[in-house]
């Protein structure tokens, strides 16, 4: 029920509240009313057609770095 997917914003309608996102190559409509200052290229989490959070690239990189360390420790 609370399944939500990370997608990239590829278009914003003139109203600013709706637009298109790309999910694995498929363009879908989405509502951005709950996200401030949405921009094309943003990664957002979409649930039931509504973006509920913008992905934080810095935090994502930090998590990936941490996982890479775990991966490398396993190889050592």
């Amino acid at each position: 029920m609370c399944l939500a997917i990370p997608v990239r914003v590829v278009g914003i309608d003139p109203s600013g509240d709706t637009g298109k996102v790309d999910y694995l190559g498929t363009k879908m409509g989405a509502n951005f009313a709950l996200i401030k200052d949405i921009r094309v290229g943003d990664w957002v989490i979409v649930h039931a057609g509504f973006a509920i959070s913008r992905l934080d690239e810095k935090e994502a990189r930090e998590t990936l770095t941490m996982l890479r360390e775990v991966q490398n420790a396993g190889e050592a």
Binding site: M1, L55, L64
Partner: protein, 375 residues
């Protein structure tokens, strides 16, 4: 953005090894509740239920399936609407149409003349249907936790602004922190800590869980949904136990901000008010439901149609969904599980919802009994 590392076998093996060491050193056996149904599904799908048990961590599913915890009275009210009213469209999410009640389900119900049940993926689709069918009453039967409530509320305010007077919302809105308090206060099960739901937390932030550490001394981590995310959440809880410092850790920081989503919360606070809601299996919990404030009455299907969901609706005979939702019963311990109650012929909502514990268990572990839970 690459997600490969979140599924990488060496990463998950490495995290599981760390978790096993932490669990071995813990003063008592570790039993963590994953509150969220989406976590339950992910944990089973990726085989983590078994792998974590082997690492010394027992995962217990909580009340985080909104379709499951919505009492039958709500479903019956929706069935009555579409079977008794002509020129009427009842829209809702797919799982909601298959919940068995005393009146059958929305799927088996025979709608009145020119009426229909339509499955939608988004509340916005329900409003689109209302725009396309101005001569019909359109109701969105909206169920959800804080993840979903803002989307439905935005849709409702949009309909109000458009003066779309034949569109309304039947709310079955539930909030996550109050049932956690109810479960902890009941003392019915022993829990060492929580995996908090990732997407509910994207809306409400971290603060609403503070009482768990402060009042009950239990650790917890807001957790994402990929295999490595889940293991990072479990590791965080075990580290908190090791350090004797229970708190609310954010193990899903790429999505969840400490303050949540203030815009989403503002929409909810403007239009909705808390009430003491009745949950399947958990009973009445103070402040655990949300409903429209009086100023939003025109959009409130409960007001428009004078609905008062029956509170006497009981579960199907033998169905123990309520105990499953409280985390006190493993699905295979129910006498109906896999024999009388199956995904094709569900007797209760936990076997219907894609995130219901019984359906998830049946799908990934089969219909047979599993090892009995130690309590």
């Amino acid at each position: 953005m690459t997600t490969d590392l979140f599924h990488d076998r060496r990463v998950t093996a490495g995290l599981l090894a760390e978790i096993a060491v932490l669990a071995r050193k813990a003063p008592s056996p570790i039993r963590l509740m994953e509150v969220c149904g989406t976590h339950t599904m992910a944990i089973h799908r990726h085989g983590l239920k078994v792998l974590l048990r082997e690492a010394g961590v027992e995962m217990i599913s909580g009340p985080g399936c909104p379709v499951c915890i919505t009492p039958d009275g709500f479903h019956e009210a929706a069935i009555r609407l579409v079977t008794e009213r002509e020129n009427f469209v009842l829209t809702t999410f797919g799982d909601m149409t298959r919940i068995p009640t005393r009146l059958g389900s929305l799927q088996t119900a025979v709608p009145a003349r020119n009426s229909a049940v339509k499955i939608v993926y988004s509340p916005a689709e329900a409003l689109d249907l209302a725009r396309l069918n101005p001569s019909k009453d359109v109701v969105f039967f909206g169920v959800g936790f804080e993840t979903t409530i803002p989307a439905i509320t935005v849709t409702a305010t949009q309909a109000l602004a458009e003066k779309r007077s034949r569109f309304s919302v039947l709310t079955a809105f539930w909030t996550i922190p109050p049932p956690l308090r109810a479960i902890l206060t009941s003392g019915e099960i022993r829990i060492s800590g929580f995996l908090y739901p990732g997407h509910v937390s994207a809306v409400i932030g971290l603060e609403p869980y503070d009482f768990v550490a402060r009042e009950f001394g239990l650790p917890g981590a807001v957790t994402g949904f990929e295999p490595a995310d889940i293991l990072l959440g479990v590791r965080s809880v075990l580290e908190q136990i090791r350090d004797g410092r229970p708190r609310v850790e954010n193990a899903y920081a790429r999505v969840v901000r400490a303050e949540g989503n203030p815009a989403a919360r503002a929409v909810m606070e403007k239009e909705l008010e808390p009430y003491d809601a009745l949950w399947r299996g958990l009973g009445r919990i103070p402040g655990s439901g949300l409903r429209f404030k009086p100023h939003a009455a025109p959009i409130d299907a409960a007001v428009r149609y004078g609905l008062r969901p029956a509170e006497d609706a009981s579960d199907a005979p033998g169905c123990r969904c309520g105990e499953v939702l409280r985390g006190v019963l493993d699905p295979p311990q129910c006498a109906l599980f896999g024999r009388i109650c199956t995904p094709d012929h569900p007797r209760g909502p936990c076997m219907v919802s894609l995130e219901g514990s019984c359906l998830v268990h049946h799908k990934y572990r089969g219909p047979g009994p599993s090892s009995k839970r130690k309590s």
